[in-house]
C-alpha cells in the first residue's frame, strides 16, 4: 500500500509500476486523478492553496484505505494527495486500485475518492484575480459517501 501527502507532483506511471511489480495476478488497474479546475465565476483562477492537518491526514487516508481493502477483493492500492499552492491543470490527487477483476477495482477506486472527499482533512482555497475564498463543501459529496453504507 502506498499512501502519501506531499507538495511535489506525482507520476502515476511510477506508482502503478511499483504496485504491480513482480505480479502476474493483476488483471485490472483503475485510477482516478483529480486536477485543479478553473470553476471560479470569472474563469480567472490563479491558484488553489491546499491546507491540511498534518498527522491526521495520513491517518484518515490509511483508515479509508483499510476500509477499501476489507470491503472489496482487491490486491493493493495507492493514494497520493498534494498540498500547498497548485495551479490550474495541476494534479491534486491520485487513487490507484489493482485487482484481478475490474468490478472490484472500479468500485474501490470510486469509494476511496468519495470517502477521501468527505473524511480526509484537506481544505481548498481559491485564489482568483478578484481575491481569495474557501471552497464550500458540496452536499453531493456527502451523499456520494453515504451511498456506500450498507
Amino acid at each position: 500500500m502506498h499512501i502519501s501527502v506531499q507538495i511535489e507532483n506525482f507520476d502515476s506511471k511510477d506508482i502503478i509500476s511499483r504496485l504491480c511489480e513482480q505480479r502476474r495476478d493483476i488483471g485490472a488497474i483503475a485510477t482516478f486523478t483529480g486536477l485543479v479546475r478553473d470553476q471560479s465565476a470569472q474563469q480567472d483562477l490563479v491558484a488553489l492553496e491546499l491546507e491540511h492537518y498534518p498527522g491526521m491526514t495520513e491517518k484518515a487516508l490509511q483508515s479509508i484505505a483499510d476500509m477499501a481493502m476489507d470491503k472489496w477483493d482487491i490486491d493493493d492500492l495507492a493514494i497520493v494527495h498534494r498540498v500547498g499552492r497548485l495551479e490550474p491543470a495541476d494534479n491534486i490527487v491520485l487513487v490507484v486500485v489493482i485487482s484481478a477483476h475490474r468490478k472490484a477495482a472500479f468500485a474501490a477506486c470510486e469509494f476511496l475518492m468519495d470517502y477521501l472527499k468527505t473524511q480526509a482533512p484537506f481544505w481548498k482555497k481559491e485564489i482568483t484575480r478578484q481575491g481569495e475564498s474557501w471552497v464550500e463543501a458540496r452536499q453531493s459529496d456527502t451523499d456520494a459517501a453515504l451511498s456506500w453504507q450498507d
Binding site: W134, V135, E136
Partner: protein, 84 residues
C-alpha cells in the same frame, strides 16, 4: 491542558491556529469544550454555537459532541473538508 487546533476558514475567522487550553474540571466532552469556547464572545460565540458546518477531531480521529476529552488530548476544529 488540551492542545486545540483550528484549520482553514475557522483558523482565519478566529485568528488562531493553535492554543493550549486549560480545561475546567467540568469540560469532559467536545460539547462542553465548545460551550466554553463560545463564551469568549464575538467570532467564537458565533462559530461554536452553530449546529452545522463545524467538524472536530480528538487525537486525530473524527469526533462528535459526545466524544470524551481529557488533559493531554489533541482536539481540532475545522470546516467541512474539501480535498480530492
Amino acid at each position: 491542558m488540551i492542545d486545540v487546533l483550528y484549520f482553514a476558514s475557522l483558523r482565519e475567522q478566529l485568528a488562531t491556529a493553535k492554543e493550549q487550553y486549560e480545561a475546567d474540571d467540568g469540560v469532559t466532552s467536545i460539547g462542553e469544550l465548545k460551550q466554553q469556547l463560545a463564551q469568549r464572545g464575538g467570532a467564537w460565540s458565533e462559530l461554536f454555537t452553530q449546529d452545522q458546518g463545524l467538524l472536530c477531531s480528538v487525537n486525530q480521529e473524527m469526533a462528535s459532541e459526545d466524544t470524551a476529552i481529557k488533559s493531554g488530548d489533541e482536539v481540532a476544529f475545522f470546516p467541512p473538508v474539501t480535498g480530492g
